[in-house]
């Protein structure tokens, strides 16, 4: 709920009105002794434009209500008026920290709806890039999380490595963040020559960099004090509140979609799913740090076993013909024109495709009505669902802990508000 009319309005609401507004599950108890503190949307550590309404007893959080919608851009609605391929660019802009995962989720849903499957080479490339995106996303998470706890150097070190990954993305897709590299039926183009050496180099230096971050965080007594036993969420609570990703695995529930319901050939890779049982901020931190290492393993296996062959499926109804054919094949020209003006028609029906994004289960619900544009697109974004459990995690914590907890569930407001 965004208050559109009067910025002061929230101050003037009575406790009963507040309770009515913020409803069950996250209600404001409303005792005069407590102080209402509005945190955000312009606040250094709400990771964008999240607004939290805190009810404080001294510095202890009695109640907390998240208020979102400040970044709502109506992506789901917009996509209904875009063709399947054109809608892809919008998915980049949801979780802007790992656009590759979003692309993958959407593209897999489109391919599922069309009933096609990408070529083996395309699948491996997708996996490599998605895992790179996962590492880069976790780097931003670690940096901002550490910054929330005022360990400011980690932030800059993380961004240095992230820069390297973004450079790889630029090398591959021509864009650093809004890549739109995966296309229905395959990829935009094949990998460039310099891709493999660059990634190999990354694999070489990254473990020592992770060790550097851990030197500043992992066993630091202050870090432990700040993270251990903070924001605890039990396994039952985590499942009941729909938490996914490292936040869920930090509570000891072993569920990783890459393992449980493999897509894009994840079953061929040998990797572990890091699991912690404490369910606190520190456990989630440990999970993500370990996930970075596992991602590096996956990337290495992908590079080692990168098959040859085309990156796009051989279906001119879905994939535009190669440029070299346009000059001499009338058929190719027709397909090219038809694809770029009308797109392809998807069958009637609906599909639901989940992928494991760095933040958790990213899923795309896609309903086709036989035409070139989706009739309904819905994204189940992990940050949005994970945010729901913020009130139960923060109850009884301190204001400073709330900051740590927000950091630990790694929310991206672009994805929450869509």
């Amino acid at each position: 709920m965004t208050l559109s009319t009067d910025p002061d309005a929230i101050q003037e609401l009575t406790v009963e009105e507040l309770r009515a507004k913020f409803g069950t599950g996250m209600e404001i108890a409303g005792d005069e002794e407590y102080m209402l503190l509005s945190m955000g949307p312009q606040h250094p550590s709400t990771h964008g434009v999240l607004r939290l309404l805190l009810e404080l007893d001294g510095e202890t959080v009695v109640n907390l209500a998240p208020d979102i919608g400040f970044l709502h851009t109506g992506i789901e609605k917009t996509m209904e008026s875009k063709r399947y391929t054109l809608g892809l660019v919008l998915t980049d802009r949801m979780d802007y920290l790992s656009p590759m995962s979003n692309n993958l989720g959407y593209i897999l849903a489109v391919e599922k709806l069309l009933g096609v499957e990408a070529t083996p080479r395309a699948q491996v490339i997708r996996v490599i890039l998605t895992e790179l995106a996962r590492v880069s996303s976790h780097l931003v998470w670690l940096g901002t999380h550490a910054l929330d706890l005022a360990a400011m150097s980690v932030f800059l070190y993380c961004f240095r490595e992230r820069e390297y990954i973004l450079d790889i993305f630029e090398m591959v897709a021509g864009q650093r963040m809004m890549v739109s590299y995966f296309r229905p039926g395959g990829l935009w183009r094949d990998l460039p020559e310099e891709f493999e050496p660059a990634v190999r180099k990354f694999l070489e230096f990254m473990p020592s960099r992770i060790a550097d971050y851990e030197a500043l965080t992992k066993n630091n007594p202050i870090w432990l004090d700040r993270t251990k036993g903070v924001g605890v969420v039990s396994a039952e609570q985590a499942v009941a509140w729909g938490m996914t990703g490292p936040s869920l695995r930090g509570s000891g529930v072993n569920w990783d979609i890459r393992k449980a319901q493999p897509y894009s050939g994840y079953e061929q890779y040998d990797f572990d799913v890091p699991l912690e049982t404490d369910g606190d901020v520190y456990a989630r931190y440990r999970c993500r740090m370990e996930e970075m290492r596992q991602s590096l393993r996956i990337i290495e296996q992908g590079l080692d076993n990168l098959p040859d062959g085309p990156v796009n499926i051989d279906d001119p109804k879905i994939v535009p013909p190669p440029r070299s054919e346009l000059g001499h094949s009338m058929e190719a020209v027709i397909h090219h024109f038809k694809l770029w003006t009308e797109g392809f028609d998807a069958p009637e029906g609906f599909v639901y495709q989940s992928v494991e994004s760095p933040r958790g289960e990213f899923a795309c619900y896609l309903r086709g009505d036989g035409g070139p544009k989706p009739a309904r697109v819905h994204f189940r974004t992990p940050s949005y669902v994970n945010l729901a459990s913020l009130p139960i995690m923060s109850k009884g914590a301190f204001v400073a802990d709330v900051v740590a907890i927000i950091g630990s569930i790694d929310i991206v407001l672009g994805e929450i508000d869509r």
Binding site: P44, L149, A150, S153, D225, R226, V399
Partner: protein
């Protein structure tokens, strides 16, 4: 010297030192930004005021990059609109930054900067604004304890919940850490058998107290960081939690005054740490050339600043309750025990138990002057 001469001396020297301090504060900010940047593999400010040096790679801003940055900052702060938010308590809102700066400057009075410089009045044993005060250490404690007013009043007057939280945090923190501070300060006092800062420095001839009392030195350093509200103890402004805490409603030079107070206090407390544990202005050949004392003091201050900034770059922030627990449950017992141990040890030394040990250490490190 008559009373009025003493007062005149205090005024003149005080004015000069305050001026130096204000410049020093500006360059401390630059030092912090530069050093922080280097610790984080960045450049730091290097645009304002540089000497372009042609190098193989082309134009690089190498030498003295950014040495005019403090001036630019000052101009920016002065040029900004000096606004007062609507619902603040105006009087207190105006007083608070002044209180902060006042307490920072007042401590300067008793700090010894150098030994018996040439030209110093005959009865002064060392160079300070007000030398020879027999309660110098207590004076430091007293003025330090007033330092909290700037923050508390700013927090309260701003009529902002974040500011109030910052103010309350600062109060509790300052009061808690002052205890440990008082108890650790007792250690050099006991060792030097005087509360005169100059006597404490003089007492460190041949042996800095940090080597005699490393525990007290570490505790005192931690307490200094807490008193200064420096990371990892910067509860009251806690960027990530309270956005800017007590100073959230301040802007332009009024904010600049808080900034000034903080950085001047950084310098001053580095100096105080040097006086108590690093032998103050003492160093090799300082007895022959008293002017060297100024150099040593400066070097030791820079070392202190370096340490503060380095720690800030490396450590996460404590939580408020952990900070209090740390102060009361760790530092206070440590300093109490340490203080008792030192007391017993001094008596034993006076009885002559450790004579040979001390002599051998003194022989091992003669360079400390």
């Amino acid at each position: 010297m008559t009373t009025s001469q003493i007062a005149l001396w205090g005024l003149v020297v005080g004015f000069i030192i305050t001026l130096i301090m204000v410049t020093g504060f500006a360059y401390t900010t630059l030092f912090e930004r530069k050093l922080l940047a280097r610790l984080q593999v960045r450049f730091g400010p290097n645009r304002v005021g540089y000497i372009p040096i042609p190098s193989r790679k082309g134009k690089e801003r190498k030498l003295l990059g950014g040495f005019m940055q403090p001036a630019a900052d000052a101009v920016k702060l002065f040029m900004k609109e000096d606004m007062t938010p609507a619902k603040v308590d105006r009087v207190v809102y105006f007083i608070a930054p002044m209180m902060a700066v006042f307490t920072a400057i007042a401590i300067l009075a008793v700090i010894p900067w150098a030994g018996k410089l040439p030209g110093l009045p005959a009865q002064y044993e060392y160079f300070a604004i007000a030398p020879g005060i027999n309660v110098g250490v207590l004076y430091v404690l007293a003025i330090t304890s007033l330092g909290v007013y700037g923050i508390v009043l700013a927090g309260w007057a701003s009529n902002n919940k974040y500011a109030v939280l910052g103010g309350i945090r600062a109060t509790a923190q300052m009061i808690s850490y002052e205890l440990a501070m008082g108890l650790t300060i007792l250690v050099p006092i006991m060792l030097a058998d005087s509360m005169d800062m100059g006597q404490i420095v003089a007492g460190q001839k041949g042996m800095w107290y940090i080597f005699l009392q490393p525990i007290a030195a570490i505790v005192f350093w931690i307490v200094i960081m807490a008193e200064l509200q420096r990371a990892p103890f910067d509860m009251s402004e806690a960027e990530q939690e309270l956005s800017a805490g007590f100073s959230v409603e301040y802007g332009s030079m009024r904010f600049g005054m808080f900034f000034m107070a903080e950085y001047m206090k950084m310098i001053i407390f580095s100096a105080i740490f040097a006086v108590f544990f690093l032998g103050g202005y003492r160093g090799p050949f300082v007895d022959q050339f008293p002017v060297l004392g100024l150099v040593y003091t400066t070097l030791k201050i820079i070392f202190g600043l370096f340490l503060m900034i380095w720690i800030r770059a490396s450590l996460p922030r404590l939580r408020y309750d952990q900070l209090m627990a740390f102060g009361w449950k760790r530092l206070l017992p440590i300093s109490v025990i340490n203080f008792i141990v030192v007391g017993v040890a001094i008596v034993l030394v006076e009885e002559g138990v450790f004579d040979s040990l001390i002599r051998s250490i003194q022989q091992a490190i003669p360079f400390l002057g």
